[in-house]
């Protein structure tokens, strides 16, 4: 059995009709599935200049090629469309259970076009798709919505649900799409696209078996990988973590990171294990990217001691096919909620100078229920607090609310206002850049974003790779697409010929040079990221290193192909390039998507872990674009590169298959 279905579902909400489209195998060989499939289809089908919140935008829900094949860490689903937040290619990535559910309905992806004139939800099972009225669900939060829809199963098979909360309904440009009780495909504002189509939920109840071409080989490959993920070294108390962070800060050299060491940490604490340590070594931004660990000192960061965060946890949460279980379900207000992740904790602690764990739990639950991106929400509130401090926003704008740094009550109130779009919340719900442009007074300079999307809680002044990738990504402002530490952990040089092998120890100053090695690392990161987005692989799995997580070997065993790692990396480059082409066709200048200067050390910080550091972003971008085969000065893919990647021929092949009615 092939691990992909070779079929996508088209749903027209305007006409209430469905069509199946068969895909030739060549599409999967060229783009795998997941974001590769979405990019190849949406580049072809979304008309240039489409209003992201209009009916012509297409919202794609896609599964990974390796999902259900017997591989591990491969349960990621992705959503893609033109982003209303950035106006660029938009995508978001999430764990949970939706990726297998798409395949169990018989599809590799579900593509939603048009717009309904009343709230609806899409239901798909083995018999096919149906649209149902969702008027009674409109206004309910994401978790309530999922509970209601699961109850409709009435003792039958429990469906997987992706839905929006009030943030998406109210077209907040930082709205996400929720799955499995508050896991969030958060970025790019795609919850607003779903809201604009009046599509409240996608409910998938198919049960078609999934598999691979060589199930025995898949088990043989998966067992050692599972053993590594589940048998790590025992870890001490959480109080050791900030000491570890401080140690890394003081070390005169950079140590090449091994992702296998991070797995026990994620297994014990989840991503929250990194929060306090990251403040200490300079990864977590402080006070809207203007402070350091000297401002958010240990007494404040003790609120986010990983053991304290974990105290509410009742059980571990595993996404589909994940042996690690980095998530956690926690007691909260008489019910259960997902444990806050690293990003949410950082965005609502150090970034805002807030030191209150209950507030973090409260806003995490509120934002998950609302279906709003916690990274952008925290980043936007950080901008608002600085704007208040500088007098750009006054009490007249806030109905008397004083936006003092670190005030837990103010943080919670602003989150409520953003969700309901009341008062100043109406502006903040569309992100910091739009709010800054509304208020003016040079406040755009401290809206820390790339292309209009708030950047995540990882400081490019510690790892310049974050600045590069947030700026060159067709979906700007992303942190999961590459950095120098990720490259260390991916171990790509063990499988892919010609890639540089970082030294075990190197000088910290070397990280801030733009040279051929950094360009090679950046390009390899992008290609591999898009490859694993096509496969549906979780980044934390990829961090084990390709010599321990057999991505290339799984792909061949699952599909029956005999492609080399270099050929698979070319697939990643193809996906990255077509995403970039999408932006170019929209008339977007890639040079306009760069990250805010403050986050790259322009001017540099005067104290703390990242004191005096600046990222040579322009040179890094130039070298990256050149090695990608894109124009080094403009970031536009060259005709020669497109020909080499076979992009145009393949697009024509996709377009050639006529859809059939369901």
């Amino acid at each position: 059995m092939k691990p992909y279905r070779g079929r996508i579902l088209w749903v027209s909400l305007t006409t209430g009709t469905f069509t199946n489209e068969e895909l030739p195998e060549s599409v999967h060989r060229m783009y795998l599935s997941g974001l590769g499939l979405a990019a190849s289809v949406l580049y072809e089908r979304i008309p240039a200049g489409t209003d992201p919140l209009g009916p012509d935008n297409i919202l794609a829900f896609v599964s990974g090629l390796l999902t259900g094949s017997g591989s591990l860490f491969t349960g990621r689903w992705m959503v893609a469309a033109k982003s209303p937040l950035t106006g660029t290619w938009g995508d978001a990535n999430c764990g949970g259970t939706l990726s297998p559910a798409i395949k169990q309905c018989g599809y590799d992806g579900i593509f939603v076009t048009g717009a309904s004139d009343h709230p609806v939800y899409l239901y798909v099972d083995n018999h096919g798709p149906q649209l149902h009225d969702a008027t009674d669900l409109w206004g309910k939060d994401a978790i309530e919505t999922e509970e209601v829809l699961k109850k409709l199963a009435d003792g039958g098979r429990e469906p997987s649900v992706a839905c929006i909360g009030p943030a998406g309904e109210r077209l907040s440009l930082i709205a996400g799409i929720s799955n499995d009780g508050g896991r969030m495909a958060a970025r790019s504002g795609l919850g607003a696209v779903m809201g604009s189509k009046m599509l409240k939920a996608v409910v998938l109840s198919g049960s078609r078996p999934m598999g691979s071409e060589d199930p025995q080989e898949m088990v043989r490959l998966s067992r050692p990988c599972a053993h590594i993920a589940t048998h790590g070294i025992p870890l001490p108390s959480g109080r050791v973590m900030p000491l570890l962070g401080a140690l890394l800060r003081h070390l005169p050299a950079t140590v090449r990171m091994d992702g296998r060491l991070s797995l026990p940490l994620f297994r014990k604490w989840g991503t929250c294990g990194m929060d306090q340590a990251s403040v200490e070594w300079g990864d977590t931004p402080v006070r809207n990217w203007s402070g350091s660990e000297k401002d958010y000192y240990r007494k404040l960061s003790d609120a986010i001691d990983p053991d304290r965060v974990l105290a509410r946890e009742q059980r571990k949460y595993h996404c589909y096919s994940c042996p690690l279980g980095c998530g956690g379900m926690c007691e909260w207000q008489g019910g259960e909620t997902h444990r806050p992740e690293y990003e949410t904790i950082a965005a609502f602690s150090a970034l805002l100078m807030c030191s209150d764990l209950d507030t973090i739990y409260a806003v995490n639950d509120q934002l998950n229920r609302a279906g709003m991106d916690t990274i952008s929400a925290g980043g936007t509130i950080a901008w608002a607090m600085e704007a208040w401090e500088k007098g750009v926003i006054t009490s007249t704008d806030t109905d008397g609310l004083a936006l003092h740094w670190g005030d837990p009550a103010v943080v919670q109130r602003l989150v409520e206002l953003m969700i309901t779009r009341e008062g100043i919340g109406g502006l903040l719900a569309d992100g910091s850049l739009r709010a800054a442009r509304h208020f003016g007074h040079d406040s755009e300079s401290f809206a820390i974003q790339a292309g209009g999307q708030e950047i995540a809680m990882h400081d490019p002044r510690l790892d310049p790779g974050y600045a590069l990738h947030a700026s060159v990504e067709p979906t700007p402002g992303r942190h999961t697409t590459g950095c120098q530490v990720y490259y260390d952990m991916y171990h790509l040089w063990t499988r892919v010929a010609g890639l540089p092998r970082p030294r075990p120890l190197s000088t910290k100053a070397g990280k801030y040079r733009a040279d051929a090695t950094q360009a090679a690392i950046g390009v390899a990161n992008s290609c591999f990221t898009q490859l694993f987005n096509g496969a549906g692989l979780c980044m934390f799995g990829a961090m084990m290193g390709v010599d321990h997580i057999p991505v290339f070997e799984w792909l061949n065993a699952a599909t029956g192909w005999h492609m080399t790692p270099e050929e698979y990396m070319e697939v990643g480059k193809r996906i990255q390039t077509i995403r970039q082409l999408f932006n170019v066709r929209e008339g977007i200048d890639p040079r306009s998507l760069t990250i805010s200067p403050r986050a790259t050390g322009h001017p540099p910080l005067e104290q703390g872990a990242n004191r005096g550091r600046s990222v040579p972003l322009t040179a890094l971008m130039h070298d990256y674009w050149e090695l990608m085969g894109w124009d080094p000065d403009t970031g536009i893919p060259t005709a020669q590169t497109l020909q080499k990647l076979g992009i145009h021929q393949d697009i024509a092949a996709v377009a050639g298959d006529a859809p059939t009615s369901v």
Partner: protein, 135 residues
């Protein structure tokens, strides 16, 4: 390929009632039909049919078995990773996570609704590390 009902069918409707995806249609005392586009080849119809009227995807006639002797999943917790692939694969949602153990917060799958299990083995097929056997 899918399962198929042949002319031995006595129209008892047991197959239609147990099919987890409602792929089987028909009227009492007349021949039932499996919708090949919907069938997931779970084999429940073949096991329950008292008239040996059902052929599997290879054309072999399915053997009737008493429900209490249908195989059920047994999880090897030493191999299991709590990855929920089995729970997701189950067409009747008879598997769920067991209660968390204070010594190991990674809950393991258990047969929460044994009466609903149809012995299809899709859970075992879905396990990435072969931790489930049907017994």
């Amino acid at each position: 390929m899918a399962y198929r009902i042949n002319e031995k069918c006595i129209g008892c409707s047991l197959c239609a009632r147990i099919c987890p995806v409602t792929a089987i249609k028909g009227h009492l005392h007349s021949m039932y039909v499996i919708d090949a586009a919907v069938c997931i080849e779970c084999g429940a119809c073949g096991r329950i049919c008292p008239a040996s009227a059902i052929q599997d995807a290879t054309g072999s006639t399915c053997t009737h078995l008493k429900r209490e002797s249908w195989p059920r999943p047994e999880v090897n917790n030493a191999l299991c990773m709590s990855c929920i692939a089995c729970i997701q694969a189950c067409p009747v949602s008879c598997l769920g996570l067991g209660p968390p153990d204070p010594r190991d917060p990674h809950a393991r799958p258990v047969l929460t609704l044994p009466d609903r299990c149809i012995g299809c083995g899709l859970c075992a097929d879905a396990c990435p590390v072969g931790a489930i056997t049907m017994k």
